[in-house]
Symmetry: C2
Subunit: 398 residues, 2 copies
């Protein structure tokens, strides 16, 4: 039977995260491994009210087949928010509602990637993007991340040597690293990309979860004709609705719409209407403020615990937003081995491996702080610290 | 910019139906062109109750990320119904919840179709399947439909001459033709396919909407290891939720699950829970009975009007279920031309062209009866009849 499968499906990496999550679900495990938003902020009552109001007001209208572009008023809301929050001029006709931003990745893959086309992706990078694009069998060109953003020397080299169709990046509070591209880095990246026929995919699921007043300008302000913006309601509203969106220049939009239609006709329209009703009836800014404050406090707690317990040889990011923090161990220490030791002591995190296209036993680890309370953070990081100290001492002795 | 697009996206046929739908949306047009279920059967109040109950009982649990396989209890419900209604042994672990069965098509394309692989599809066939598979650039091998089902002579020829990876069919109350494969036809098709490494995709969105007691056995009873079954709640519950499913043998299931995860992580979990709650609290059999009765009466009204008004040279199907009826005009008459004439007289239908892989100005037409009441059916068919008589007379004179 094996020979019946397409070549592409064997290229898709299995989700290691999915596998390790099962080992971390036990009640007594302190898990920094997840990537889930904190469920305490899910507006259960408000969603109940919105569901009722939508059905009372519109009845069967919200239950029929609908447009592939998505709910017009929701697209207008998104366009308006871009203007208000980021001073971006986005027309609702450029907004395509997707079944989570994961689907946006699939659609971009569908319309842009031929087999063996070159796709540049930041490294470490978002695993879901690697999986989604793998279906279309590109050659991945990893571009390393520094604490300031993309390594522009490597990017320049890669982009000059090869025809890069897509550059995929999460420039704000990245998953997995928590790092944001500085404005200088963005300027330079945009300049490099602008000289080429490359589409920059700016995936921005965490942008609203910023801990400071300082905001970074989207690539869309720099190279609008080459940028596809992704957004998501999974981290500011709820994930189970699977509602995200993308913003694309007209020519790309038309093709993305064809791909969307072929993929699932349209995103759940009842859910789009409930979400839009929620947005009308509630103060999204206040809601997001509360999430920011909580995540900020948890991040601060994690930083304090790291300073206290981690050996000084370990480097780490101090994110200005999002849900993740990144630690870099001294070279030669496999975070994978640390993971197996840690799980014996009931602490979990994600070792860096799955965030690299083709590297193994990497010395990096992703620590999620959105779902763990402050005392538990201290406890878990303290345990991790002991293990790391042992490994660092061994490495030195070696 | 054009050279940036993947080769595949230019292969996807535009949805002609989508285009003509816009011309048929005017209030004064009698439309047999749609493919929508009748909105009078959407259980608005029950969905409101189910939404509330789910949030009251489970709160944030139904709002978090969830499993790619789909809601376990919903999958169990589906497996149980297969047993009850069709005496099929399906394990819940074989059921994958999809974002509508359109997504099932995309997933099958992802895991099975390499460029230029041969995909057999009934002709006329479901446009959405042609669109979804086109993304993966197969060579389509059309297999004509007769009033009894697939043309087995052609199927035999095609399957012996070429390696057919996928045979796509809607064997019950097909869209667009309303035709069902007879049991004899199914036996023969299964026999032909069983000798080959071919996956038969049995798409069955209308199976529950049967007008008689007589049911046809699924291909799954004949060739379970080679059959992927598709199902949908769009026609028995509501379409806007975009919830369908597929049933696949283990080896295929594992790959389909990877493809599902890469495509959108999982289907809206809140919606899955609301649907499951609805199924628990309501009598689905009674609900479906009511739809059947209504559609049957509308179909009967359409048949009566056709007998009265269409020229006798026009052949037509008399479906035992579903939402569509198929008319075959004398050779040489383009249903496309008839459509343009009909729309001037405020009557719409879908000319056959989009249901063929590579034919134009076809002499067939799809007539939808699910959304039009009986007096309107009589009025619209009578108008169509006059136009058809004119065309038939002209064709004879010619």
């Amino acid at each position: 039977m094996n020979q019946i499968f397409s070549d592409r499906i064997s290229d898709v990496p299995k989700s290691f995260i999915r596998e390790i999550l099962s080992t971390t679900l036990h009640k007594d495990v302190i898990s920094f491994a997840g990537g889930l938003p904190n469920r305490n902020f899910f507006p259960v009552e408000q969603i109940k009210e919105a569901s009722q109001r939508v059905l009372d007001q519109y009845g069967a209208d919200v239950l029929q087949y609908s447009m592939s572009e998505g709910h017009l008023q929701l697209r207008e809301w998104i366009a308006k928010r871009y203007k208000e929050k980021m001073n971006l001029d986005v027309h609702p006709d450029q907004v395509l509602i997707t079944s989570g931003s994961q689907q946006g990745l699939d659609l971009v893959g569908k319309i842009l990637i031929n087999e063996r086309d070159h796709v540049a992706i930041e490294e470490p990078g978002y695993l879901g993007a690697i999986q989604a694009f793998s279906i279309y069998r590109p050659t991945f060109e990893p571009v390393p991340m520094h604490f300031e953003g993309l390594d522009t020397d490597v990017l320049k080299e890669v982009i000059q040597g090869k025809r890069i169709k897509v550059l995929y990046t999460v420039p704000s509070f990245q998953n997995p690293s928590g790092i944001s591209h500085t404005d200088e880095n963005r300027d330079e990246v945009a300049k490099i990309v602008s000289s080429r026929q490359t589409i920059l995919v700016e995936d921005n699921p965490y942008g609203e979860l910023c801990f400071t007043e300082k905001t970074h300008k989207s690539y869309y302000t720099r190279i609008p004709d080459q940028t596809v913006l992704f957004g998501s309601f999974s981290k500011t509203f709820v994930p189970s609705f699977r509602i995200g969106w993308l913003v694309a220049p007209k020519e790309l939009y038309d093709k993305l719409l064809i791909a969307k239609q072929a993929s699932d006709l349209h995103t759940n329209y009842y859910a789009q209407c409930v979400l839009y009703q929620y947005l009308c009836d509630n103060n999204m800014d206040e809601h997001i403020s509360a999430i920011r404050e909580k995540y900020f406090n948890q991040k601060e707690a994690m930083i304090r615990s790291i300073q206290k317990h981690f050996p000084e040889e370990v480097q780490y990011s101090n994110p200005d937003g999002g849900m993740f923090l990144w630690a870099i161990l001294p070279e030669g220490i496999s975070a994978h081995k640390v993971f197996h030791e840690a799980i014996k002591h009931h602490v979990a995190f994600v070792p860096g491996d799955p965030f690299y296209v083709d590297k193994k036993d990497i010395n990096t680890m992703r620590l999620n702080f959105s779902c763990v309370d402050e005392p538990t953070i201290e406890k878990g990081i303290s345990t991790l610290g002991k293990i790391l100290k042992k490994y660092v001492a061994e490495e030195k002795a070696f």
